[in-house]
């Protein structure tokens, strides 16, 4: 189900916790699995559940509780814009509008070519850099003015 490399990463995460607390690695395991598989399908959740000795529904709970997990496929580039108040005070709504217009999609939609999915985020803890965006969960982008957004889209569309 998961590659050897992915499982090695999960195993490494497991070393952080007491041996009888494998479940503690579930967030790590799901992040690793999502990165490898694109999204958390039923099979992936089931696999992680078995790997960590958890009830599958408990994995499902976790996968739906934390917002950066995708239980259905997202586009190759998931762009998540923080629109919370501190960011909104500094132009994040305009940034989001700009993205919508450039990509031709609304929130939670994916472009027809499957390249971009647009999401709205809550506070990333980077309000001083507003507007901020997350690209594929792991890359934080700061000061995303319309021209910097255009640059980003150009880079990602390559």
């Amino acid at each position: 189900m998961l590659s050897r490399e992915a499982l090695d990463k999960v195993d490494r995460a497991l070393t952080k916790y007491p041996p009888d607390q494998k479940q503690s690695a579930v967030l790590a395991a799901l992040v690793i699995a999502q990165e490898e598989k694109g999204h958390l399908s039923t099979e992936v959740m089931d696999f992680v559940a078995h790997y960590l000795g958890m009830p599958p529904v408990a994995v499902y709970e976790v996968a739906t509780f934390y917002t950066m997990f995708d239980c259905t496929p997202a586009g190759a580039n998931k762009l998540c814009v923080c629109t919370n108040l501190p960011c909104a005070l500094r132009g994040s709504v305009a940034a989001l509008e700009h993205l919508k217009q450039r990509l031709g999609v609304e929130l939670n939609e994916t472009t027809p070519d499957g390249k971009f999915t647009l999401r709205e985020g809550e506070c990333f803890g980077a309000c001083g850099d507003a507007p901020v965006m997350l690209h594929n969960n792991k890359r934080m982008l700061s000061f995303m003015t319309p021209d910097r957004i255009d640059q980003l889209l150009a880079e990602l569309s390559k």
């Binding site: 007491p18 500094r90 506070c123």
Partner: protein, 451 residues
């Protein structure tokens, strides 16, 4: 400090910085930290064979209060850890910084991670605890990775492990990441999350000091709290206390965001006038005037600008002014801000982030948001404001954790201080604010039709 990319200018965090003193954004590695005097506190404790009790007494004396939101005295919290517990105990660092407006822990972790590591080791020593976890906000992945690197450095240098600096003291530290849930900043939700579950806050009592991670005694502190400890130990509690005010020891990093010229983190002495902090952040945007400030993160009551300008930035002064210092996130709003729209956004946040566990929060946050949303979009009714306040009252103090309060307090304070703005929305179906370029619905356009 608006530079996205280091190096940061000298004194980027202000002249009084202790934690962030000498930090330029590039010098985060162990050798840099040591060059700034890092791990001196740990070496001192070991060399002087300082007892755990003496260490706790020192922290108590410093009047260091928790920087995560509640401002609980740190030394006192540490003293709650049972001494003679037969099993494993835990130290947990709360780096799940997700309170809108707060972004200080991110800077500490990415630019000065070893201060947190050293603080955690000292906490472990003080409480007789040998394992720690740092729970890092999932949205700052690069910071999580850097922290893992810092842990490796510290381990290699003998600051972590089973025999720290050959003293026989043991402390193992691991980084753990979240993945998008504000509630995991609440300490017991964080523990649940660390155990691999949904982040559902636990009912207290029992408190983490007796029933924490894996049911074991646990001390949880905020990143900044831990980061402040090495300085206190190295330089003495007295000096730290003197920097601040009685009962409000030391410096505090304030995250200033919103309508200021230079949003950023500023580390100032507790008790610094708000006006001075505002000036450090470059003041209110050019051409605008100060309207309102949320002084302690979005969960705290908003205060009108004038009130803030008369207030000093410490726990007690802000409480006296009618709000709370919280996590030290200062959200500044100028006169182009529509308070209805601002509250709508905040209410949406709590509605989105409620864990859904307990009734008042699960049901009430949605109700609050929908009502404010209706008012903002021109469908308000005259009775709405009273219902809003009453619903907020029915949430306040009735929930398992303080997220309920966090959702209720903004509603109550926004209406208390800016009631006429809400009433105007309801009555005229238009926004009272008509300054272009602000956070408000386009003036003159009926609300329901505005984009």
């Amino acid at each position: 400090m608006t530079t996205a990319h280091p190096p940061l200018p000298a004194d980027a965090y202000g002249p009084d910085a202790l934690i962030m003193k000498g930090v330029d954004g590039l010098n985060w590695r162990l050798k840099d930290y040591e060059a700034r005097g890092g791990y001196r506190a740990l070496r001192k404790v070991i060399a002087e064979k300082m007892t755990p009790d003496a260490l706790i007494a020192e922290v108590k004396k410093s009047a260091l209060r928790g920087r995560g939101g509640a401002g609980f005295p740190t030394g006192l919290k540490w003293s709650f850890m049972p001494r003679e517990f037969p099993g494993q105990k835990y130290i947990v660092c709360n780096s799940d910084e997700g309170e809108p407006g707060t972004f200080k822990d991110r800077d500490i972790l990415r630019y000065n991670p070893h201060s947190v590591i050293e603080g955690m080791v000292l906490a472990g020593y003080a409480t007789g605890t040998t394992v720690g976890y740092n729970y890092i906000h999932g949205e700052i992945w690069d910071v999580y990775q850097r922290f893992e690197e810092a842990i490796e450095e510290a381990r290699a240098a003998g600051y972590l492990g089973s025999n720290i600096l050959g003293s026989g003291v043991a402390f193992e530290l691991h980084a753990h990441h979240g993945w998008g849930a504000y509630i995991c900043g609440e300490e017991t939700a964080l523990l649940e999350s660390l155990e691999g579950k949904k982040g559902l806050p636990r009912f207290k009592p029992p408190f983490p000091a007796s029933y924490g991670l894996y049911g074991k005694p646990t001390t949880i502190n905020n990143t900044e709290t831990f980061a402040a400890v090495p300085w206190i130990v190295a330089n003495g509690a007295e000096r730290y206390l003197e920097l601040g005010r009685p009962n409000n020891g030391g410096t505090k990093i304030f995250s200033v965001s919103g309508h200021v010229e230079r949003p950023g983190n500023y580390e100032v002495r507790l008790g610094t006038p708000f006006a001075k902090l505002l000036a450090m952040a470059g003041g209110v945007r050019a051409g605008r005037t100060l309207k309102a400030v949320i002084p302690g993160g979005s969960s705290m009551p908003v205060l009108p600008g004038e009130a803030m300008m008369r207030t000093d930035m410490d726990y007690d002064s802000i409480a006296k002014a009618g709000s709370m210092l919280g996590s030290g996130a200062v959200i500044v709003m100028d006169d182009s801000t529509c308070m209805v729209k601002a509250l709508e956004r905040l209410s949406y946040f709590y509605f989105e982030e409620s864990c859904g566990q307990c009734t008042p929060c699960r049901e009430g946050t949605g109700w609050l948001y929908r009502m404010v949303h209706r008012i903002e979009t021109g469908h308000g009714r005259p009775e709405d404001l009273d219902v809003l306040v009453n619903v907020a009252d029915n949430i306040l103090g009735r929930t398992i954790c303080a997220l309920g309060d966090a959702a209720a307090l903004p509603v109550k304070s926004f209406i208390a201080h800016f009631r006429e703005e809400f009433a105007y929305h309801i009555e005229h179906k238009r926004c009272l604010v008509s300054i272009p370029g602000g956070y408000a619905t386009v003036p003159g356009v009926p609300l329901g039709e505005a984009a």
